[in-house]
């Protein structure tokens, strides 16, 4: 081992063929170690930078956010002091292990960042969140270093925290008033990586994808406590589609990940299962399974960037195939289960990942029976991975996606969010159509469409779509009325009339958003034209009248 010493900062450098400790166990053969007591300055710097961010206007604008930062800073600072005392007393020196950057960290992070950039271009809250992303990164580095040094003497310094922070936030972040939970969520993710480990192929490695682990855990708590509204989760899931051609964008980003990490079989099989089951459901019932598209955008994102972590997914090609299929089936089933319990359905893509992570070793063992299976090897599904097979699978995936796009199943228009479609399907008695209609109208009512609130009130009076509930109806009429929908006010005076009316232009601007597009500035003639195309019969007459 070659050693260098640097007296200026009391640190020493060494090159070692292999570093000790769990973190360094997976480090490449050539790694560099920096040792010294003054290295405590590094997490202190991260902590200080994190603390200083709390004085920026973005944070200062919300008192809870400020206190969240300061509380997190206090935890890190206390931890630092305790570590300083301990290292001073024991004489132990802490070290950083430096290796070549790991592609699974920086390439994933770059793909994540590109998604943020494109999505944020079309949805401003992402831009407002950028500073908080940076803060989480600083917090994550400080936390991870301190946790590693508490358990051993070295820390593998690299880009590891980037994909964890980025992928967590691509699916959920807490509102400013609850942001301290975001730091807790990040901390839980890193603790899951540090403490929940197993021995895989002779190496100690974490069981769960850190971001999926903490997302899954927090999702469960949020569902059980019915407190999803303290997060941006539903908005994140629905606003990805604001970026035009988002499926194609995610597909292209996904190709990069597939190329470098050979996860094609996972993502492609999950997508194929979801496309297939959606098509089957439509063929059997005449109504779409998912409300916003054949595969919800956020699920499409998840199957490329959440479930495909090479460390926590199978290593053999048949294992990856099975893993992807199980993810597709899991998401499909969870969507119905969550709907049945009245829980937000966007959790579907998050909840099954930790369970799948647990099954990885079992899957890899199970597919060993396929060893030396010639037909499978010929189609690249032999148990020995090969880059050539991955390229072949990518080609198949490209053709499959192109076909789906060509027939309008990706970025094309989807009838699932059309109220007239579900109203008609409900009248025709199609499977769960009335429940879906009520759900969609509830969403639009929550978005301040007086028309939608009045429709729900009328359903509760008539008992056609939902069971009769006059008291509940009054609540919806009152909301419709406060949203200046005149029929709602008249219904409040005489509920039994259950008067309905066509949506106003303002309502149409909400009803036609398809996942969140801002139509408030759209000229009225274009708005009615669009409404007509989406099945609003009254809008066709208005549209014709406008043209004439």
């Amino acid at each position: 081992m070659q050693s260098y010493s640097d007296k200026r900062n009391s640190a020493s450098f060494s090159r070692s063929p292999r570093s000790s400790g769990a973190t360094a166990a997976g480090a490449p053969e050539t790694s560099k170690r920096i040792t010294g007591r003054s290295l405590l300055a590094v997490p202190a710097l991260f902590t200080t930078a994190f603390f200083l961010l709390s004085f920026l206007p973005r944070v200062q604008g919300n008192q809870t956010l400020v206190w969240s930062f300061w509380a997190a800073t206090a935890v890190l600072a206390i931890w630092l002091v305790l570590m300083y005392v301990r290292t001073s007393a024991s004489g132990n020196k802490k070290s950083f292990v430096l290796t070549a950057p790991k592609p699974q960290h920086y390439i994933q992070a770059m793909v994540h960042l590109s998604v943020y950039t494109y999505w944020g271009w079309h949805w401003p809250p992402v831009q407002e969140h950028a500073l908080l992303l940076l803060a989480q990164l600083l917090f994550a580095y400080a936390f991870d270093i301190l946790m590693a040094w508490t358990r051993r003497d070295n820390y593998l310094l690299g880009f590891g925290p980037f994909p964890i922070i980025f992928s967590t936030n691509l699916f959920m972040w807490f509102r400013d008033d609850w942001f301290y939970l975001q730091f807790l969520m990040i901390a839980v993710g890193f603790m899951g990586k540090e403490f929940v480990r197993w021995n895989r192929d002779g190496k100690s490695t974490h069981i769960f994808n850190p971001s999926a682990f903490t997302l899954g855990l927090f999702s469960l708590v949020l569902i059980l406590s019915n407190s999803t509204d303290i997060t941006w989760g539903p908005q994140i899931a629905s606003t990805l589609s604001l970026a035009p051609g988002i499926y194609t964008y995610l597909f292209l980003g996904g190709l990069v990940v597939m190329y470098f990490f050979s996860i094609t079989l996972i993502a492609a099989s999950a997508a194929a299962v979801l496309f297939g089951l959606s098509a089957l459901y439509y063929a059997m019932t005449g109504v779409p399974y998912f409300l916003d598209s054949e595969i919800p955008t956020a699920v499409f994102l998840g199957l490329h960037l959440l479930v495909t972590d090479p460390s926590t997914s199978p290593r053999t090609p048949p294992g990856k195939l099975v893993f992807g299929i199980l993810y597709g089936l899991g998401v499909f089933a969870l969507y119905s289960i969550l709907s049945a319990f009245g829980a937000p359905t966007f959790y579907d893509k998050l909840l099954c990942v930790p369970l799948l992570n647990l099954s990885v070793q079992w899957i890899d063992r199970a597919v060993q029976r396929l060893r030396d299976n010639r037909p499978l090897e010929r189609i690249g599904l032999g148990v020995i991975p090969s880059r050539r097979a991955n390229l072949a699978h990518m080609s198949v995936w490209i053709v499959f996606f192109a076909t789906m796009t060509f027939i309008g199943k990706t970025d094309g228009r989807h009838v699932g969010d059309s109220v007239p479609f579900w109203a008609q399907a409900c009248v025709e008695g199609r499977a769960s159509a009335c429940d879906r209609l009520l759900l969609i109208e509830s969403n639009y009512c929550a978005d301040n469409s007086g028309w939608a609130c009045n429709e729900i009130g009328a359903h509760y009076i008539r008992g056609d779509v939902a069971e009769q509930d006059p008291e509940r109806a009054l609540g919806f009429f009152a909301r419709a009325c406060e949203l200046r929908f005149q029929a709602g006010c008249l219904n409040l005076l005489e509920p039994e009339r259950a008067m309905v009316a066509d949506p106003r232009a303002f309502d149409l601007r909400l009803l036609l958003r398809e996942g969140g597009q801002n139509l408030l500035e759209m000229p009225e003639s274009d708005l009615y034209q669009r409404a007509c195309e989406h099945g609003w019969a009254h809008a066709c007459q208005t549209s014709v009248a406008t043209v004439l």
């Binding site: 949203l483 929908f485 006010c489 409040l492 106003r504 303002f506």
Partner: protein
């Protein structure tokens, strides 16, 4: 000052302009404070009216309603009354008070109804909120006791009316006469515009409830805040009602529509944003806005410190 075409309106912060020129005037009339009059509006000192007569007594055991045989509801006999304003008599009249293109004032024949002698008070509304577990995002001053409740929307007022009707119909605390009324097809609700105006001016075309002259000792207007409901005597006012002018604007159950008034067939355009009529002016207004015929309008969700209500019992 010559009469101008105006409409008093209150918004809830996000007003959507409409195509109608008539209604566009509403939007033009909005101010940043949410209330806009068609003329300048001077700052005035706190109303210092004092009363030699005792104020009303409210019964805490009876939903804080007035200690009267019908819990403060006063019968308004059936019959015609003059509705709207005649600018020849009332130089402060606004264009929207004109009955039609050919007539300045109309005559409306109303069946018998009952109306509350006083504006609904804070105490009364608090009982409702507690017993019905009714929640308001922005709470009014719950300690204001016998002052008129304000900062309540049109929908809040109707919710209170529905709750109180259920209470009066079923409770032994309610006078038998009132229970009988409510179980014979009468309902507790807000008065409509015509009912309100008749209750305010009686069968004569009075400019103010007490007559045609402005009197600072008869109403709380051009002041800094509300006074307790019914605390200002008005022996000249029809039917013994109080605060029909000033204190707080009072919601009615009439949508804002141009005259002539037709309670049976209101020509409501369901595509236009809802605006509901309020009457009587408030402590915050000058004399021109506390006239019996003045017509204010507000979004049904508006909750403002100068808007309250009083109830009526009508046969439907």
């Amino acid at each position: 000052m010559s009469p101008i075409s105006w409409l008093l309106a209150v918004d809830t912060g996000c007003y959507v302009s409409t195509q109608s020129v008539w209604r566009r005037a509403v939007v033009t009339a909005l101010s940043a404070s949410g209330l806009m009059l068609g003329f300048a509006h001077a700052q005035t000192p706190v109303n210092t009216v004092t009363s030699a007569e005792p104020g009303p007594v409210f019964r805490a055991q009876a939903w804080h309603l007035p200690d009267e045989p019908l819990l403060g509801f006063v019968e308004i006999p059936a019959g015609p009354f003059p509705m709207g304003s005649n600018p020849l008599i009332d130089p402060m009249a606004f264009e929207n008070e004109r009955w039609s293109e050919t007539r300045r004032q109309g005559t409306v024949d109303l069946p018998e109804f009952y109306i509350a002698r006083y504006e609904t008070t804070v105490d009364q509304f608090v009982v409702f909120m507690e017993e019905a577990n009714y929640r308001l995002v922005e709470m009014f001053d719950a300690a204001a006791g016998n002052h008129p409740v304000s900062g309540v929307s049109w929908t809040d007022a109707l919710a209170y009316a529905r709750w109180l009707e259920a209470e009066l119909t079923t409770s032994e605390q309610a006078p038998a006469g009132l229970r009988r009324l409510l179980s014979n097809g009468w309902h507790l609700t807000l008065p409509d515009e015509a009912q309100w105006e008749k209750a305010a001016r009686g069968t004569e075309p009075r400019i103010f409830p007490w007559g045609n002259a402005v009197r600072k000792d008869r109403a709380n207007f051009a002041a800094a805040g509300t006074v307790p409901a019914g605390s200002i005597p008005c022996p000249e006012c029809p039917y013994g009602l109080r605060d029909m002018s000033g204190n707080v604007w009072e919601w009615t159950r009439s949508p804002y529509l141009p005259y002539p008034f037709d309670s049976d067939n209101p020509a409501v355009n369901l595509q236009e944003d809802a605006l509901w009529v309020m009457r009587g002016g408030s402590f915050n207004d000058e004399e021109s806005n506390i006239r019996t015929a003045v017509r204010g309008a507000a979004d049904p969700g508006a909750r403002r410190p100068f808007i309250g209500f009083r109830l009526a019992i009508v046969r439907e």
